[in-house]
Subunit: 346 residues, 2 copies
């Protein structure tokens, strides 16, 4: 507790620096009313030049800055949005992009990271308490949790998670189309036997990717497919490849991984443990287009997600809905770009 026995409007004008200057301090210092000070910080307010100059002079001298918390209390706008990220490690770029774009628009990001998809409930409670204006979610939520946003009337945009039958806004990369491109490339390259390595069981994105690949393979008349699952990590990619080899006895022509990191794990496992040549003996493709996928050691063929476009879409969709609560939910889907590396035999 800072010792501050005096009541607010009675403290001396010397502004000890201990406490932040308030609009009252400025008003007294400038010899005007407090509301005049307030108006000077609202653009579009009617205030004479003379008044403004006078106030701003005091503002400078006292180092005054409006208290955004107090402002939010009455305007019912905190200018903060929540960003929920499930596993930071996989997608730093996304967070970086979102943060930068929100900041550009004067909106601040309250960050929530979750390791265990379970404790989402607690997080959501906290969001209400902090009166965020909206939320971007890049994590899996149960349907009833999604409903909470609707109930509370808090705009929400899902990033790379789509809820098929729930009317909620989202921005996604077209996973199915991406897998089609990859499969097409592989089949044109005379690959005949396939392994598909999925991500975590509860990941809808992973499911869409693996199913997209399998569907496309089937539609091209290919049925020599084995499946294994990882959890999006490097290590799990390696293990999954072992699993594949155990299942089918031999190595398939091509391995389709639900993300780049597992694909990288597969390449390393193939090369350094199974002594195989990539792409000579086996081709590998991933999904995402992360930085390391383009490193020379891997030069992975993958689908590059248009992160900038997606982040921009998420931010503008959310803020539009903050400004206008009537806007209906909208789903936007972006095409990924096929990046042809040397991890596929052509």
């Amino acid at each position: 507790m800072a010792a501050r026995p005096e009541k607010n409007p009675s403290s001396d004008s010397s502004h000890t620096g201990r406490r932040q200057a308030t609009s009252y301090d400025v008003a007294r210092h400038a010899g005007v009313s407090q509301s005049a000070v307030s108006r000077c910080f609202k653009d579009g307010a009617s205030v004479s030049k003379k008044m403004r100059d006078r106030v701003m002079k005091s503002v400078k001298e006292l180092g005054y800055q409006p208290n955004a918390i107090a402002r939010g209390l009455i305007t019912r706008r905190s200018n903060m949005v929540g960003v929920i990220v499930s596993n930071l490690n996989f997608y730093p770029e996304v967070l970086s992009e979102l943060s930068a774009r929100f900041t550009d628009r004067g909106v601040h990001v309250l960050l929530f990271t979750i390791d265990h998809e379970s404790d989402v409930g607690r997080i959501i409670d906290q969001l209400w308490q902090y009166q965020v204006d909206g939320v971007v979610v890049a994590a899996h939520l149960e349907q009833d949790q999604v409903a909470l946003f609707e109930e509370r009337n808090v705009p929400v945009v899902f990033y790379n998670r789509s809820y098929q039958d729930v009317p909620v806004s989202s921005v996604c990369c077209d996973q199915v189309e991406g897998e089609r491109k990859l499969v097409n490339l592989l089949v044109e390259g005379q690959h005949h036997s396939f392994a598909v390595i999925g991500g975590p069981k509860d990941s809808v994105v992973s499911m869409q990717r693996t199913q997209g690949a399998i569907d496309r393979l089937h539609s091209l008349g290919i049925s020599d497919i084995v499946q294994a699952d990882g959890d999006y990590t490097y290590q799990s990619g390696r293990v999954a490849l072992q699993e594949v080899v155990k299942q089918r006895g031999t190595v398939p022509d091509a391995i389709i991984c639900a993300n780049d990191i597992m694909a990288i794990g597969c390449m390393d496992e193939a090369r350094y443990h199974l002594n195989l040549d990539v792409p000579g003996d086996v081709s590998v493709v991933g999904f995402d287009g992360v930085r390391s996928a383009s490193w020379s050691s891997y030069d992975l063929t993958t689908i590059q997600q248009p992160v900038e476009s997606m982040a921009e879409a998420a931010v503008s969709m959310l803020l539009d809905r903050v400004d206008n609560e009537q806007l209906p939910p909208e789903k936007r889907s972006f095409s990924g770009v096929l990046r042809r590396g040397s991890s596929v035999r052509e």
Copy 2:
């Protein structure tokens, strides 16, 4: 604007769901005073079991949650801390760790990412406005910017940035000691000619690392050293190696990089462009211990920063200073762990 013509305490008790329930709503619903409701949410307050049960029943029914913003206004504790990260891409783990630990303690993270180290000034202004209780900075600040925290009386802890002569709290990895370990290992392994590749010019950490390495080399009587600089990126590591080769005409025995990502770039450049064997023709070491450094393709010898310990230290140091403003600045330094990979000839 939601149509809400009535004054606060007069609205009907049906709680339309449009607006969040306030403590007044709960009080009216439970037939008690507003302060009674407030007390039920302050642990250690004197409130009878009967009262608590009664209030909590209404709380449940109305879905009430205290407004943290309003609370912060009067307690002068926002329970938010600012986290300033210079370049997210390089250290997602750190942010993840910090976020998780703050959340565990009921503190929320207001995230600020900066691409251009320049616009730090604006960021800092925003911090004041949002009344953060403290700040963790993992970015470079000018000395006068550091002083602002002192002025405003906002506790701050620097993460992996140390200011030699400024009395400010920080938690660091011991860069110099780490480089000593690396150099010792290399010299014991009969390496005689060296290249040192630094990071961005304005990075104090990079400077400490490169200078630490060079000092140790000198003290071991080695003077065959060339220097080049990158910017911590993969590509810059590759370019820097080219630069080194151009400078000295041949490839040195060992390359010491200021971080892992540049080291990885060097390895790829050496192997796939210069057709050299690593570690046969040239050894490479990095610093940080990022995930990709341990991938089989690289298996980089490096110094692993104890991220968990450092994050924990930063969080507890900061919150201690939030609770007790009198605590003097403190600098904590952690030793990194030598991770011996196969990127060094032994």
